[in-house]
């Protein structure tokens, strides 16, 4: 037979990888699902308060206040017409977190400074204490918005401030009640301060407890600035980035493998490439898909941090760790998905085998908080050596720790993690080799293990 050109071993792997990448990442579905959808989601989240602010009902009507002093109404009027600043809204939110969804949405729009609302309130002062009966009658007839009775004793700074009477119709919305209450409470408090002769600004300054600038000093003497919020956000962002990128592409690997089996194209491919070449090509192809997502989402995050001059939150070493643990996580998760995909004939069958895999992958998400709170604790240290949680736990530990993780632990987790990843890859290849040609009843996990050791 004459010699003829043949495709090299790695040439086939690269060809398969490129096809998988091209038909996954360079499709409208991927661009929409993996790129446009997150952008859309963030856009919707960003626009939500603005959209919701349009829904805030206008506050229109007359408020009658029994105010013998005549000093409360002018103050309350000024307070009501000036909406709270974002900072004030945030402080109020922290002090009295709203329980119901409606109030949470209102608070969110106030904090975003988007609480534009039409307020056209006419205030009427009643000097006679017995005007309350008239107020109730007017409320009953729907002629006024609300009524209040503020006794003279309430304004005396030498006495305890007791409750004032507020009368509202049953139809008044909780937001309007809250607005009117806030205006009256603040007006009474301001009047009491004014009558006591104390400077309001001075009082505010005196009552404002200072925040500490915390510096963490490790046993080795290294110091790091403490930032409680970011201690939670940054490691979580790293882990979720890793989890989403790895899981999305591994899921693609699972579904395309199942599709190739159900389309019967698998045998055609096996006539051109060995199962190992096929598996290697698929894993390589989807690693590129995963890398594209990592670069895209990670790049967006970094660009955002750079725009607000907060790049110091992500030192280069963290990015290096992210890349190392991304590779490890991808090999672990894609091995499991490839093995499952090769063993079943449709997605429904895959569910029973994917269940245990998903349980393993959800564990790092559940351990997020305990690990962040104590990255050098026993739980975090042990979890950092348990596959397939290793990359997710380690990225949490390394980015959360304000004191360094012992170097030997980091090095050992990398070596041990990659050893586990290649072990899983080997097992997946053995299962894949048998599974791709199997049809009919899906195997049990025990049968899968048996396949791995078939000659």
């Amino acid at each position: 037979m004459p010699e003829r050109p043949q495709q090299s071993y790695f040439g086939k792997i690269f060809l398969i990888a490129w096809r998988e990448f091209r038909h996954t990442a360079l499709t409208k579905g991927f661009i929409f699902g993996a790129v446009a959808m997150p952008v859309l989601m963030f856009g919707v989240i960003g626009l939500m308060p603005a959209l919701l602010s349009k829904e805030v009902p206008a506050l229109v009507g007359t408020i009658v206040v029994v105010d013998p002093s005549g000093t409360i109404v002018p103050r309350a009027k000024a307070i009501l017409e000036k909406p709270p600043t974002a900072k004030e809204a945030m402080e109020e939110f922290a002090k009295n977190p709203p329980a119901d969804t409606g109030s949470q949405i209102n608070a969110a729009s106030e904090m975003a400074g988007l609480g534009a609302q039409k307020i056209e309130v006419t205030w009427r002062v009643e000097k006679a204490p017995d005007a309350v009966d008239g107020i109730k009658s007017e409320l009953k007839d729907g002629r006024i918005l609300a009524g209040a009775s503020i006794g003279g004793e309430l304004l005396d700074p030498s006495k305890d401030a007791k409750a004032f009477e507020l009368y509202i119709p049953s139809s008044l919305s909780p937001k309007h009640v809250k607005q009117i209450t806030r205006a009256l409470r603040q007006a009474v408090a301001d009047e009491r301060v004014a009558r006591s002769g104390v400077d309001k600004e001075l009082l505010s300054r005196l009552n404002n407890p200072p925040d500490p600038t915390t510096t963490r000093v490790s046993p080795k003497g290294t110091e790091a600035q403490e930032n409680t919020e970011l201690r939670f956000i940054v490691p979580g962002a790293f882990m979720f980035l890793l989890w989403i990128c790895v899981f999305t592409s591994a899921n693609y690997l699972l579904t395309t493998t199942i599709e190739e089996k159900s389309n019967k194209v698998m045998e055609v491919l096996l006539a051109a490439a060995s199962p190992m070449q096929l598996l290697a090509g698929k894993i390589l192809g989807y690693s590129m898909v995963s890398a594209v997502m990592l670069v895209m989402y990670g790049g967006l995050g970094l660009a955002g941090l750079s725009a607000v001059a907060m790049m110091d939150l992500v030192p280069p070493m963290h990015i290096a760790y992210l890349v190392i643990f991304f590779v490890m996580a991808y090999f672990m998760v894609s091995s499991m998905m490839a093995a499952v995909g090769s063993a079943v004939s449709d997605l429904r069958e895959a569910q029973s085998l994917v269940g245990p895999v998903m349980m393993l992958l959800i564990v790092p998400l559940m351990l997020w908080m305990p690990i962040i709170q104590n990255p050098n604790g026993t739980l975090a240290t042990v979890a950092g050596f348990v596959p397939p949680a290793i990359p997710f736990v380690m990225i949490l530990r390394l980015t959360a720790a304000t004191e360094p993780i012992p170097l030997w632990q980091t090095a050992l987790s990398i070596v041990w993690g990659f050893a586990c990843a290649f072990g899983m890859l080997w097992l997946a290849a053995r299962i894949f080799r048998v599974g791709v040609l199997m049809q009919g009843k899906p195997p049990t996990p025990r049968e899968l293990i048996k396949w791995a050791f078939v000659k």
């Binding site: 043949q6 495709q7 060809l15 190739e260 389309n263 019967k264 055609v268 490439a273």
Partner: protein
């Protein structure tokens, strides 16, 4: 449509006159066995398929044909025994083998040209000129202009032709087709028959499995009959004819068929005679009878519309051998029991 000629400008390899088997083995199987769980799918088959021959794998459903073919393709490994393909292992020779599996498959969303090109590149075909080569082949397969269409947009028959094209686009030295005629209408069946002939004429060794005995009879140099994992027949068509051509004549007399049949037996031309529907008569000749002399003698009895030597029928051979093999296995089973 003819596959025997090709325009000079075509990038599709021109088909020379029908090549003859070279004598070297393209496939050599030695005592291969394969078991799936409790089922012994292949029970120690040995065979050789000469280079440039056209070999038919025959056998009833579940006989072990596809398993044997998959072992030749090294898609599955035999439990024991050895398989040699083109002088080496099939794994090393994948790029020189074309394969059409029994269960057809293609990427539904992929464009036709892209799919065939992908398979060709996996088999080592250089990308230069590949698109032109695919277009030429599509034209020859009566599928002009489908290159840019998605595979899922084609009819079932068109998809089958695309799959066949994907198996031959790299001009393989060995072409293995598992049930290539299944589900094809007569026109597409003829197209595939011509294509198989054309590939053999190019110099490829071809193995195909089929249930269609008349197709195997018309195409094959050699047939291998497999039943219940055993090889029950391995012979060239010439050998089969020599063995199974029963010495007989099929005559269509212009006179009364019954009278002619009686006269033929009475004159000692035939040992037995049977009349058939349609006015033909089967004459069984005695061993050692000269067929030409018998024909002349028959013509003396009555003028003929037609007269021919009775030839072997692969259908009958199949039924006879499979029935015999089943009977022996049942007998063996009873003895074992």
């Amino acid at each position: 449509m003819s596959f025997g000629t090709s325009s000079a400008s075509s990038s599709v390899p021109a088909a020379p006159s029908r090549a003859r088997p070279s004598g070297n083995a393209a496939v050599r199987i030695d005592n291969v066995m394969k078991r799936f769980g409790s089922v012994q799918a292949v029970k120690g088959i040995s065979l050789e398929i000469p280079e440039r021959s056209l070999c038919g794998f025959l056998g009833p459903n579940g006989a072990g044909k596809s398993t044997t073919i998959r072992m030749i393709m090294s898609i599955i490994s035999p439990d024991s025994g050895s398989v040699e393909v083109l002088g080496s292992s099939a794994l090393a020779m994948k790029d020189r083998i074309g394969y059409l599996p029994e269960e057809r498959g293609l990427y539904r969303k992929m464009k036709v040209g892209e799919f065939v090109g992908y398979m060709a590149k996996l088999k080592g075909v250089h990308p230069t000129g590949l698109a032109r080569r695919i277009d030429d082949w599509l034209e020859r397969l009566a599928l002009p202009g489908v290159s840019k269409r998605r595979c899922e947009e084609l009819s079932k028959g068109q998809q089958q032709r695309i799959q066949l094209l994907a198996s031959i686009i790299h001009a393989p030295d060995l072409l293995i087709l598992d049930e290539p005629f299944s589900g094809l209408d007569p026109i597409n069946g003829r197209l595939v028959t011509d294509l198989i002939r054309s590939e053999q004429a190019r110099g490829a060794t071809i193995i195909f499995s089929t249930h269609q005995m008349h197709t195997a009879e018309a195409l094959c140099d050699k047939v291998v009959l497999i039943n219940k994992g055993d090889k029950v027949l391995d012979a060239t068509l010439a050998e089969l004819r020599a063995k199974h051509d029963d010495r007989g004549l099929v005559c269509e007399p212009r006179t009364d068929a019954r009278t002619f049949a009686d006269a033929a037996v009475a004159r000692g031309i035939a040992t037995a005679a049977r009349t058939n529907d349609g006015g033909t008569v089967d004459l069984d000749l005695a061993p050692g009878t000269d067929a030409d002399a018998a024909m002349r003698a028959a013509l003396e009895i009555a003028p003929m519309r037609s007269m021919a030597l009775r030839r072997m029928n692969l259908d009958d051979v199949f039924v006879e051998l499979v029935g015999k093999s089943d009977g022996e296995q049942k007998k063996g089973a009873r003895i074992d029991a």
